[in-house]
């Protein structure tokens, strides 16, 4: 935490400042450079509102917030509609309303402070509470003074994107369980401390002499402390054991419960008759250790669950329907077939339909992953979820809500998820044999001892039970798994599914999506060739491209800070731009468009944007989706490990092959529809391959659900994030290698744990059965073996 920001990065968002941008904000007498007008506005608002402490205390190691684009702000009115609100707002009084919003760019305590301060100064706000761990904001406001959209807009002005989300029932359940666990842990912890203290007095009593009355008194005190532990703290184990017995199987909680309850009853009996052995300290300590393990497991699960719930933001789509010559705004779900709707430039198309306008250019990347816009003519089908890249469109609706292609992909994802190969929990297998063997040995011990020495039979049997309590064994898996999850979290990798450890064992194939996974998914200027003065060219090109909506245009519109404004401009969709500047005609566009003027000219490079006037070609640019810096390293590292790499893409074959040879990928499958991709993975799985899939688009979500393990990025579509088992939060592909390494390391540690725990139990068993283990030694040995397991798992926390 520091307020020093390095040179060359934005003061607000810490992203590198693009070349040629010279914006700044005044902060405590200094001018601090920022990267864009958005960050400037946000920083100015924060400083103006007297909230500068945010910049002093924020955590610079964590990724910072990125400001909300102004276009998104305009659509917030939707959330004021009472019908829409009924889904997520609670009315608590005449005007007061309550809701919880997810704010996905809260990174540290300073953000929470900033949001609460800003809202506290807003008239009409009754209460606002931020939860940093959940990235949630709970608000209560007076509906007669302020509107929900105003609250969301205020937060947007200080750089936070707050949105309603679909509440999850499982989450409320986990919340309650977590509270229960904290209480049980507290009781077990406090009681264990007391019982251990008394146990030490008793241990020394074994060596020196302790008079029987004092010993009896200390036993009773231990009993008092151990009783709430066994009756209250231990409940989760008994419940889980009962459940598994009812289901006709045996899990690890069965031997744990038998040992705990058995030891408690025998100790209670010893206190009543005034002789024998007591095990109160072992009982309390086991319970505390085991509860801690379970609690950490629950926290990891909760974190992953909250992350996915936060992605399910509630996005009511509005549609503009033609109605008696005018336009009316209605919710997309109320659209009917044959309605005529109008889509403005940049808007998402709310329903499948047929194009009525002459021509359209739509971005279907959401569905196909292909970032180049598709040109459509009258009568062509338009798919819901694609984005209008051209002028205002008219569409006749052919399918709504549940029937759209988009809904079809969701259904495909659900089906794939149900089809996913199941992971067998190895630990519960071990438990079954373990319990049977244990009970058999305890029974034999008891029978043999009652034959030879009935007085000692009970105590020896008990020593066997305590010494073989599978405490260390049942900690072996959960502690190493939670260790792995925490380690990955610290690397900014979020683990949602339990498949990671099982699937890494036979991992032999990694499948990549192309756009957004191996590439950045954004157009960038990769190479250029100039045949005239570079500054003039830059000014002309950026002047023209700023007036174009084509996605390639964005890559070139920032070339110059002083763009030349054209006097006249004419757009040829799919071809280029014809413009007049100071009496000269220019053409900017694809090769064929330039060859109209210069039929014999050929580009030097693989250029796709060319600038020319009537006399000569002035410049050529190669604009393409840039390959990730680390893609090549990741592919070659995977190959070194003997893992086959495959690229699946919806893209055309030529472009896919170029990238594949550049990255040296083993296999390429191009022009794949979402269904083809699922089939490809399925057939690989049928050939007994274990397949990991890395992708980011909505079109990838079914295939992500089908793979043995799937990964996606934090910027990926919400659907991909819901489907994926692992989310790489900091957008680096190299993290894939770290995930594999951590998973392998965890398997090794888990195996060590198992060998140690089982080895200890097997060694102590015959000694205990012969009656040679003193009760305190049995308890101590058990605790030590548990500590060894925990310490071994803690190695995973070290990076």
């Amino acid at each position: 935490m520091a307020s020093d920001v390095e040179d060359g990065v934005c003061f607000h968002c810490l992203q590198p400042i693009p070349h040629g941008v010279e914006l700044s904000v005044a902060f405590q007498g200094d001018d601090k450079a920022v990267c864009c007008a958005g960050c400037q506005a946000v920083a100015e608002t924060i400083i103006e509102h007297g909230l500068t402490a945010y910049y002093k205390h924020r955590d610079l190691d964590k990724p910072q917030q990125t400001p909300l684009l102004p276009e998104q702000l305009k659509e917030l009115d939707v959330y004021d509609n009472p019908d829409v609100q009924s889904d997520f707002v609670r009315n608590t009084g005449d005007h007061s309303k309550q809701t919880t919003l997810t704010v996905n760019n809260i990174t540290c305590g300073a953000c929470a402070w900033l949001i609460e301060r800003e809202l506290a100064k807003t008239p009409g706000m009754i209460k606002s509470v931020v939860n940093v761990s959940n990235q949630r904001l709970h608000i209560e406001w007076d509906g007669s003074i302020i509107k929900l959209s105003d609250i969301i807009a205020r937060l947007a002005r200080i750089g936070y994107q707050a949105l309603p989300f679909q509440q999850n029932q499982i989450e409320a359940n986990i919340n309650a369980r977590r509270k229960g666990f904290i209480k049980r842990l507290g009781v077990a912890g406090l009681a264990t401390m007391q019982v251990m203290m008394i146990a030490f007095a008793l241990y020394f009593g074994v060596v020196s002499d302790l008079d029987p009355t004092t010993q009896q008194y200390l036993w009773v005190v231990s009993l008092v402390f151990a009783t709430p532990v066994i009756l209250y703290s231990g409940q989760p184990f008994y419940k889980s054991a009962l459940k598994s017995i009812q289901a006709g199987s045996v899990n690890m909680d069965v031997p744990v419960s038998i040992a705990l309850i058995g030891a408690y009853i025998a100790s209670l009996y010893a206190v009543i008759i005034g002789r024998g052995e007591v095990y109160f300290e072992s009982i309390s300590m086991f319970t505390f250790f085991l509860l801690t393990g379970r609690f950490l497991e629950l926290l990891a699960k909760e974190k992953a669950l909250k992350f996915s719930t936060n992605r399910l933001t509630y996005m009511p789509n509005l549609a503009h329907r033609e109605y008696d010559g005018g336009l009316e705004d209605i919710a997309a779900k109320q659209l009917k077939i044959n309605d005529i709707i109008v889509i403005k430039p940049g808007e998402t198309i709310p329903a499948d339909g047929v194009l009525l306008s002459d021509k359209a250019s739509v971005d279907e990347s959401l569905l196909t992953g292909e970032s180049r816009p598709v040109t459509k003519a009258t009568g062509d089908g338009i798919v819901a979820g694609s984005v209008n890249q051209s002028a205002t469109l008219r569409i006749k609706v052919t399918a709504t809500a549940q029937q759209t292609v988009l809904a079809g992909i969701v259904a495909m994802q659900d089906a794939a998820l149900a089809d996913k190969p199941k992971v067998q929990k190895a630990i519960d297998h071990i438990a079954q044999y373990f319990v049977m063997t244990l009970l058999a040995i305890a029974a034999v011990t008891f029978l043999v001892w009652s034959w030879f020495d009935p007085d000692h039979a009970l105590w020896v049997t008990l020593a066997v039970l305590v010494a073989t309590c599978p405490c260390a064994l049942s900690l072996a898996a959960p502690t190493s798994i939670t260790g792995a999850v925490h380690r990955l979290n610290r690397m900014n990798v979020l683990v949602k599914g339990a498949q990671l450890l099982e699937s890494v064992k036979h991992l032999d194939t990694v499948v990549f999506d192309k756009t957004g996974t191996l590439t950045y998914g954004q157009f960038k200027l990769i190479a250029r060739e100039d045949y005239a003065d570079i500054d003039t060219i830059n000014a002309i090109v950026s002047g023209l491209e700023q007036r174009s909506e084509h996605p390639i245009a964005a890559a070139l519109s920032q070339l110059s800070d002083q763009p030349t404004s054209p006097d006249a401009i004419q757009n040829y969709p799919g071809q280029g731009i014809l413009a007049e500047i100071a009496g000269t005609d220019y053409r900017l566009g694809r090769c064929e468009f330039i060859q109209i003027w210069h039929p014999n000219w050929q580009p030097k490079r693989q250029s796709n944007v060319i600038l020319a006037n009537r006399q000569a070609v002035l410049a050529e640019f190669q604009v393409d989706d840039e390959v990730r810096e680390d893609s090549h390293d990741v592919i070659s590292a995977l190959k070194l490990q003997g893992i086959r790499t495959i690229m699946l893409t919806g893209d055309s074959d030529a472009r896919a092959q170029t990238l594949a040879s550049q990255l040296d990928i083993d296999e390429v499958l191009s022009e794949q529809s979402p269904a083809d991709k699922v089939d490809t993975i399925k057939s690989l799985q049928q050939q007994k391959h274990t397949v990991w899939m890395i992708g980011d688009g909505i079109n990838d979500s079914p295939v992500l659900a089908q793979a043995d393990l799937s990964m996606t990025f934090a910027h990926a579509s919400d659907m991909a994030q819901t489907a994926a088992d692992v989310v790489l939060l900091n957008d680096q592909l190299t993290r894939v290698l770290d995930v594999i390494e951590t998973a392998r390391k965890t398997r090794i540690i888990m195996r060590e744990n198992f060998i140690w725990a089982a080895g200890y139990n097997l060694t102590i068993l015959p000694i205990a059965a012969l009656g040679l283990v003193a009760p305190w030694a049995a308890a101590l040995g058990m605790s030590l073996s548990s500590l060894v397991v925990v310490a071994n798992s803690l190695r995973l926390y070290r990076l």
């Binding site: 509102h49 007297g50 500068t52 402490a53 002093k56 205390h57 540290c108 305590g109 300073a110 929470a112 402070w113 301060r117 100064k121 931020v130 939860n131 940093v132 761990s133 959940n134 509270k179 904290i182 209480k183 507290g186 009781v187 406090l190 009681a191 007391q194 004092t214 008194y217 005190v221 008092v224 402390f225």
Partner: protein, 60 residues
């Protein structure tokens, strides 16, 4: 040694008290968001100092 007959029951009472306070803390959601509480103290302190600055032109 007889002093332990009096002191240990006192200790038991203290532990019971500790458990009661702990349960109250859990029930009043004090363990809901552990990440930010350490920060809260820092931030509030700073704010008070800033409010004392004369050039602070906030209207509230």
């Amino acid at each position: 040694m007889s002093v332990i007959y009096a002191l240990i029951p006192v200790a038991i009472l203290f532990v019971i008290l500790a458990v009661v306070i702990f349960f109250w803390a859990v029930r009043s959601n004090q363990f809901e968001d552990i990440e930010r509480q350490g920060m809260t103290i820092l931030m509030d302190d700073d704010d008070e100092k800033e409010q004392k600055k004369p050039n602070d032109d906030r209207s509230d």
